[in-house]
Symmetry: C2
Subunit: 131 residues, 2 copies
DNA sequence: GTCCCTGCAAATCCTTTGCACTCCT
DNA sequence: AGGAGTGCAAAGGATTTGCAGGGAC
């Protein structure tokens, strides 16, 4: 177990991620943080995000668009992904009991976590389409 | 709508994917297919896989390991991902009714599909660990 | 003959890494 | 001082793409 030292950059990354309702990619976060730390490097952003994921302070989301997104909310919840604009939204629906039950009974091995993504066209994009 | 022409390579890719119980990556498929078509190129494999996904004949799985996997089975089902060995297994559990219901009531936009991944350590890896 | 499909290689995109230097503790 | 953290740039891995030639119709 290695000792963790304070770093302004890491705090800024956490704060920045917490302040956002979307689920930014490392690069989006990098762009935001550059306003405060013009010299921060993308490598540092990646390193810290991965560190925070390991520590369990944030979650990494792989929704299938080829880039990883990050979520400050580590509580169990599902996600909605818009296929048009790529936005990821939190779903505030109940965690499915039957899915949890299935996880417990899974014959394939242990189940430590599970992810649920819904895919479709979000309300914003639907409106724009109707023009 | 562009016309589709027959291609031996595409048929071989489909056949190869159908014949496998695992959920191979493009590269794994490429390696397999090379036994039949020593000259096939990785680009062709990618192009055809993407084409088949667009046609709805196969599914692309992004489980978060950084590489895409492909599944010949397009019927709704969930997946189990082993964090140790990376294997993806089909779960033959029932589709959760409550999850389906939630999808229908989703306020964020349309829901065309959804994916569920369970993550843990598979039975094989658990056994090996106990040695 | 036309146009899709292929092999090849280069290009692109995202992410990780090596290194010298800086900043916590 | 010691070692974790940083910026930079190069490396790495996965996927896409441009192009000239080949094959289906």
């Amino acid at each position: 177990m290695k000792t963790l030292k304070y770093s302004r950059q890491r705090e800024s990354i956490k704060a920045c991620l917490m302040g956002r309702k979307d689920h930014p990619t490392a690069d989006a976060l990098y762009t935001s943080i550059r306003e405060q730390f013009p010299n921060i490097s993308l490598g540092t952003v990646y390193r810290n995000l991965n560190l925070l994921v390991e520590l369990g302070e944030i979650r990494k989301l792989s929704c299938g668009d080829g880039t990883d997104h990050f979520d400050y909310d580590t509580s169990p919840h599902y996600h909605y992904v818009c296929k048009k604009c790529g936005k990821i939204l939190d779903l505030d629906m109940e965690i499915s009991g039957s899915l949890e039950a299935a996880a417990r009974e899974c014959q394939k091995g242990t189940v430590e976590e599970h992810t649920v993504f819904f895919y479709g066209t979000c309300c914003n994009c639907l409106q724009e389409e109707s023009h």
